[in-house]
């Protein structure tokens, strides 16, 4: 920004930037690098920063491990359905809050804000008991519902913010031109909501893709219904101390999140910031 700043003063600043980048990236880099390092080099007392030789063996071990494809599919299924459900439900609520005046509007938003802070870690026991009593234990839809609820409040808050930035006059003029209220929303406001929908679905995707505690304690007997995070955490037991395979599995698990985030960085940061700033 300021070009008048003397060059010398930029040196510590840039050094700090380099250190920040290194600290942020090193664990990610080390995971990927280990995943490509041959086993004999991993079991070395002096690890090298750049692997001497590269191998795909660990990825073969990880992908060939029991049920890898199945758990991948489970995670994807649960994540996508939770995100979709949460988007549809939240869009309705966000529209009602941002565009309509009704009794109980403030109370509803208060409920949403409180729900955003829900102590999910403290609810594992009752959710476990309720699922068991309703025959929903060990089933993927249970996880879908829990993840839907975990992401719903944030989605409502952010979408409300985004709908708020779209002038209602746009829709009103479409209605004057003969559109129904729903049609006006779909053709005028909905396209403008794209960044908001993207940011919130990313948030939901990350939350659900990552969730471990519920996936770990609600899926017990049906091991085929486990999700990737649980599988990954049990990896070390399955493979003993095969750190190469563990890191390859971690890489495969983290890759979708890392790639999607990096591609959509601009939208992610603004969307999250909008959500955080607004509550």
């Amino acid at each position: 920004m300021s070009t008048t700043r003397p060059r010398m003063r930029r040196v510590p600043l840039n050094a700090a930037a380099v250190v920040t980048v290194a600290l942020c990236l090193f664990p990610v880099y080390w995971m990927v690098a280990t995943a490509f390092t041959p086993a004999r080099d991993i079991q070395s007392v002096s690890p090298r920063l750049v692997p001497r030789t590269w191998t795909l063996d660990h990825f073969r071990t990880a992908v060939g491990a029991d049920g890898f494809g199945l758990f991948w599919r489970n995670s994807l299924l649960v994540t996508l359905s939770a995100v979709l459900l949460s988007l549809v439900v939240a869009l309705g609520s966000a529209y009602a809050v941002a565009r309509m005046r009704w009794r109980g509007r403030r109370q509803f938003m208060l409920m949403v804000f409180i729900a955003q802070m829900a102590p999910w870690e403290s609810l594992i026991i009752p959710v476990y008991i309720i699922s068991r009593d309703t025959g929903m234990l060990d089933r993927l839809p249970t996880l879908t519902l829990v993840y839907f609820m975990m992401t719903l409040p944030f989605t409502v808050i952010v979408l409300r913010g985004f709908i708020g930035t779209i002038p209602p006059e746009l829709e009103e003029s479409a209605q004057v031109d003969g559109c129904t209220r729903l049609g006006a929303f779909r053709h005028v406001a909905f396209p403008l909501l794209a960044p908001g929908l993207m940011a919130t679905s990313l948030f939901g995707y990350i939350t659900a893709w990552n969730e471990f505690a519920y996936a770990n304690f609600l899926i017990i007997k049906q091991q085929d219904n486990r999700t990737l995070p649980v599988w990954l955490s049990s990896f070390q037991n399955v493979f003993g101390t095969d750190w190469g395979a563990t890191m390859a599995a971690s890489t495969l698990f983290a890759a979708p999140a890392l790639v999607v985030f990096l591609l959509l960085q601009r939208h992610v940061t603004s969307g999250f910031a909008a959500g955080a700033v607004k509550g």
């Binding site: 009752p126 890191m247 983290a254």
Partner: protein, 329 residues
């Protein structure tokens, strides 16, 4: 960034009379045909029903279980009977529980102080960087942020591996011979420190990026006039920058308090609360008690104590948020 700018840029400084009334942010005036009728209630119904069944009902069940004698037998037969506050009595009379509470607050305090200091510094740094440096730092923050919790936890285990971990190797090369095969996870304070490092590493990106986007809302003209008046960097920060970002700073701070207070997955996967009890904080204690020792009643009681302790922070959070809401309304 567009969304943030659009919402925050035209924000008048507090106390300049009329609050902003942008066309989109408030509810629409009721139309002439008598308002929206039942539509808003239809639209919010799924969200309300979902919240009632998936959030409120489990919470009520948790309270009920914490007031019952509820172990493995009652889980299977369902003949739990009420024992009043007995479970809370047992819990509060247990010195191990108090040790866990103390440790929870220590863990939270260390984490939050580190997170807030580091992320403020990073945010201020990003603001001063050139275009290239800013993109580089923001991208790496986003990458660290996108790293799934389980993956990051596994990687940290690998970084601090006693035999083949790179941290021990580097420390040894730097001349700290005592770190040769140092078993981090066998020593309470060391395991605790690694978990703090992990949580801080995971939390700084969100906090830094949010604080940075708050910093971008400080009008440049204010800085220029302050500099013309000969104010020093520190002075500018404390009397100009900080007051403007203060609401968001407090918001991030309370969010981090809540999140670190609830840290569970990292600890459960990495140390399971050990060695001994060295990394057992309240959520870990609750799950251990409930699911490993099958004392669902005590576990629920511990969870409810956690919720009560956290509501203290929640009150602060909501006060701050409503102040913001009022400004935006």
């Amino acid at each position: 960034m567009t969304a943030v700018r659009e919402q925050t840029a035209p924000h008048p400084p507090p106390g300049t009379g009329h609050p902003r009334r942008s066309p989109g942010s408030g509810p629409r005036r009721p139309s002439k045909d008598g308002g929206p009728g039942v539509w808003p209630y239809v639209l919010i119904a799924p969200a309300v029903l979902g919240t009632l069944y998936l959030l409120v009902y489990p919470l009520v069940r948790a309270v009920v279980i914490s007031l019952q004698d509820f172990g493995l037998r009652q889980l299977i037969l369902g003949d739990a009977r009420f024992v009043g506050l007995d479970n809370y009595g047992t819990l509060l009379g247990d010195s191990r529980f108090w040790e866990v509470v103390r440790r929870t607050f220590l863990f939270m305090a260390v984490d939050v102080v580190l997170i807030m200091v580091l992320s403020t510094l990073v945010a201020l740094m990003i603001e001063r960087l050139g275009r290239f440096g800013r993109t580089a730092v923001l991208s790496s923050l986003v990458l660290a942020w996108a790293m799934p919790v389980i993956a990051a936890t596994t990687v940290f285990q690998w970084l601090f591996h006693s035999e083949f971990g790179i941290v021990n190797a580097v420390l040894k090369d730097l001349g700290f011979a005592s770190f040769d095969r140092y078993a981090w996870f066998a020593h309470g304070p060391a395991a605790f420190a690694i978990l703090v490092a992990l949580v801080v590493w995971q939390s700084v990106p969100f906090a830094a990026i949010t604080l940075y986007s708050a910093l971008t809302t400080v009008p440049v003209e204010l800085y220029e006039s302050a500099r013309l008046d000969g104010a020093s960097g520190t002075r500018i920060f404390w009397s100009l920058t900080f007051p403007v970002v203060r609401p968001i700073f407090l918001l991030v701070c309370s969010l981090e308090v809540i999140w670190t207070f609830k840290a569970f997955v990292q600890i459960w996967v990495m140390t399971n609360g050990g060695p001994g009890d060295a990394t057992t904080i309240l959520p870990v204690y609750a799950v251990q008690t409930a699911l490993s020792s099958q004392r669902y009643d005590l576990g629920s009681a511990a969870s409810m104590v956690t919720v009560v302790l956290m509501s203290g922070v929640l009150v602060l959070y909501f006060r701050q948020m409503f102040r913001q809401e009022d400004e935006l309304a």
